[in-house]
C-alpha cells in the first residue's frame, strides 16, 4: 500500500476518486432529503401534515421509498428498445451529476475553493453538462415506443432547448461584470465589489430564474409531465428503481441550478463572519441554495401550469429579446465606464 501511495499519479487518482465518490453520495442524499423537504412544504401549503410515519418527523421516508422502489418489478414494454430503455435513466442521472465536478461550495482558509476541480471555464462546463440532460429524457421517452412517453419527450426536448438559449444569454451579463468564466473568480469579484450581482443584474437574474425553472421541468413549466394531458410524460412506461432514477436526475438538476444561481447572482459563499471563520462560507452557500430551492417549491404550490403554445411563445418572443437587451445595456455600461 505504501509504495502504491508513493507514486504521485496513483495517489492523485485515489484521492480524487474518493472525493468524487463522497461528493456524489452527498448529492444523492441531498436529493432524498430535498424530496422530503418538498413533500413537507407542499403539505404545509395545503394544511396537511405530509410524511409523518417513517421515523421522527418523517425523516426516514426517503429510505422507505427507496426500499419500496428497489423491490418493485422492473417492467420493459414489449416494443421498447431494450438497451436504450435500460440505460436512459442512467444517462439522465450521470449528466445531472456531472456539473458538480466544477461547483465551488465555498472557500478554504487559504483562499482555494472547496471544489473537486477549479476550472477556468467553470460556467461553460456547467452549461455544457446541463444541456446534456436532454438526452436522458429524449432517449427514455423515445425508447419506450409508446405514445405518451414519446409526446412527453419531444415536448420536453423542445422546451429545454428553447429555454436554454435565454438561459445562456442571461448569464453573459454576469460574465461582463466579472470578466471571468471561473466560478470562484465570479464569486470573488462579487465580494471584492461588495455587491451581489442580483442587484446590478436583476433582469438577468429574473431570466435565469425563469429559464432554470423551465430547464428543470418544474411547475409552472412542468408540461413534459402534465398529468391531465400526457399521463406521466416521458417516464410513463418506467417502473421500479428506473422510474425513481429519473426523479433523482430531476431533483439533482434542481439543486444544480440553485447552486449556479447562488454562485452567479447571490455571491456564492459570501456572507458575514467569514474573516474569523472562512469555512463558514460553505454554510452560507448551502443556506442560499436552500432558500432558492424553497422558492422553487413555493412556486409549485402556488402557480398553475402554462399552456404549451404560450410556453414556447414566451421563451422565443419575450425571454430571448429581453435577454439580448439586458446583455447590450450591460455591455454598454461596462465598455463606456471603462472609456
Amino acid at each position: 500500500m505504501n509504495h502504491l501511495l508513493a507514486d504521485p499519479w496513483l495517489r492523485f487518482i485515489l484521492v480524487v476518486a474518493i472525493k468524487s465518490g463522497v461528493l456524489i453520495f452527498i448529492v444523492i442524499t441531498s436529493f432524498a432529503y430535498l424530496m422530503l423537504f418538498e413533500r413537507k412544504i407542499l403539505a404545509w401549503f395545503q394544511l396537511r401534515l405530509g410524511p409523518i410515519w417513517c421515523g421522527p418527523w418523517g425523516l426516514l421516508q426517503p429510505a422507505a421509498d427507496a426500499v419500496k422502489l428497489v423491490l418493485k418489478e422492473d417492467l420493459t414494454p414489449r416494443d421498447a428498445d431494450p438497451l436504450i430503455y435500460r440505460f436512459a435513466p442512467a444517462i439522465a442521472v450521470l449528466t445531472s451529476v456531472l456539473a458538480y465536478a466544477a461547483i465551488p461550495f465555498g472557500t478554504f482558509p487559504d483562499g482555494s475553493p472547496v471544489a473537486i476541480a477549479n476550472l477556468n471555464v467553470g460556467i461553460l462546463y456547467i452549461l455544457a453538462a446541463g444541456s446534456l440532460g436532454v438526452y436522458g429524457i429524449a432517449l427514455g421517452g423515445w425508447s419506450s415506443q409508446s405514445k405518451w412517453p414519446l409526446l412527453g419527450a419531444i415536448r420536453s426536448t423542445a422546451q429545454m432547448i428553447s429555454y436554454e438559449l435565454a438561459m445562456g444569454l442571461s448569464i453573459i451579463g454576469v460574465l461582463l461584470l466579472a470578466g471571468t468564466t471561473n466560478l470562484s473568480g465570479i464569486t470573488a469579484a462579487q465580494s471584492a465589489h461588495h455587491v451581489w450581482y442580483i442587484l446590478p443584474q436583476f433582469v438577468g437574474f429574473l431570466i435565469y430564474f425563469i429559464t432554470a425553472t423551465a430547464e428543470t421541468n418544474r411547475a409552472p413549466f412542468d408540461l413534459p409531465e402534465a398529468e391531465t394531458e400526457l399521463v406521466a410524460g416521458f417516464h410513463t412506461e418506467y417502473s421500479s428503481l428506473r422510474f425513481g432514477t429519473f426523479f433523482v436526475a430531476e431533483y439533482i438538476n434542481m439543486i444544480t441550478v440553485s447552486c449556479v444561481a447562488t454562485l452567479l447572482f447571490l455571491g456564492g459563499g459570501d456572507g458575514p463572519f467569514l474573516a474569523t471563520l472562512p469555512l463558514l462560507s460553505v454554510a452560507w452557500f448551502v443556506l442560499k441554495v436552500m432558500v432558492f430551492l424553497f422558492v422553487l417549491i413555493w412556486m409549485r404550490a402556488t402557480l398553475p401550469r402554462l399552456r404549451y403554445d404560450r410556453l414556447m411563445a414566451f421563451g422565443w418572443k419575450v425571454l430571448l429579446p429581453v435577454a439580448v437587451l439586458n446583455l447590450l445595456v450591460t455591455a454598454a455600461i461596462v465598455a463606456l465606464v471603462k472609456a
Binding site: F12, A17, T76, W148, T157, E164
Partner: protein, 119 residues
C-alpha cells in the same frame, strides 16, 4: 497545481459513470420478473393499443430544433467577447452591436414568417 484540473474532471466522470451504472443494475438484482402480455403492452390508459406507436409528430419540433442550433451558436460566440470586453472597450461594443443587428434581422424574419408561433 501539479495536475491539470481536467484530469480531476475525468476521474470524477469515471466515478459518476460507475455510480450511474450501479443504479441501473440494481433493479435487476432484487426484483422478481413475472411478465405477462397485458403488463408488457404499451400503456394507453387501459385501452388496447391501436397502433405500435405514433409514426409521425408535428414538424414544428424540427423547426424549434433548427432555430435552436442557429441561435445557440450565436449565443456561444458572446462568451469569449463578454469576458474580454473590458479590454476591448468601445470598439468591442460596436462590433457586437453590429453583430446583434445582423442577428436581429434574421430574428425579425423568423418572427414575421411565424416561426415562433405555435400553431
Amino acid at each position: 497545481m501539479l495536475f491539470s484540473p481536467w484530469a480531476t474532471v475525468a476521474i470524477f466522470f469515471v466515478v459518476a459513470v460507475v455510480v450511474a451504472l450501479l443504479i441501473s443494475a440494481v433493479p435487476g438484482i432484487f426484483t422478481s420478473k413475472r411478465p405477462n402480455r397485458a403488463k408488457s403492452e404499451a400503456y394507453e390508459c387501459g385501452v388496447p393499443p391501436t397502433s405500435a406507436m405514433i409514426g409521425r409528430f408535428p414538424v414544428r419540433f424540427y423547426l424549434v430544433a433548427m432555430l435552436f442550433v442557429i441561435f445557440d451558436v450565436e449565443a456561444a460566440s458572446f462568451y469569449p467577447w463578454a469576458v474580454r470586453l473590458r479590454d476591448l472597450g468601445a470598439f468591442g461594443l460596436m462590433e457586437m452591436v453590429t453583430f446583434i443587428v445582423v442577428l436581429g434581422v434574421g430574428y425579425a424574419y423568423v418572427w414575421k414568417k411565424g416561426g415562433f408561433s405555435w400553431r
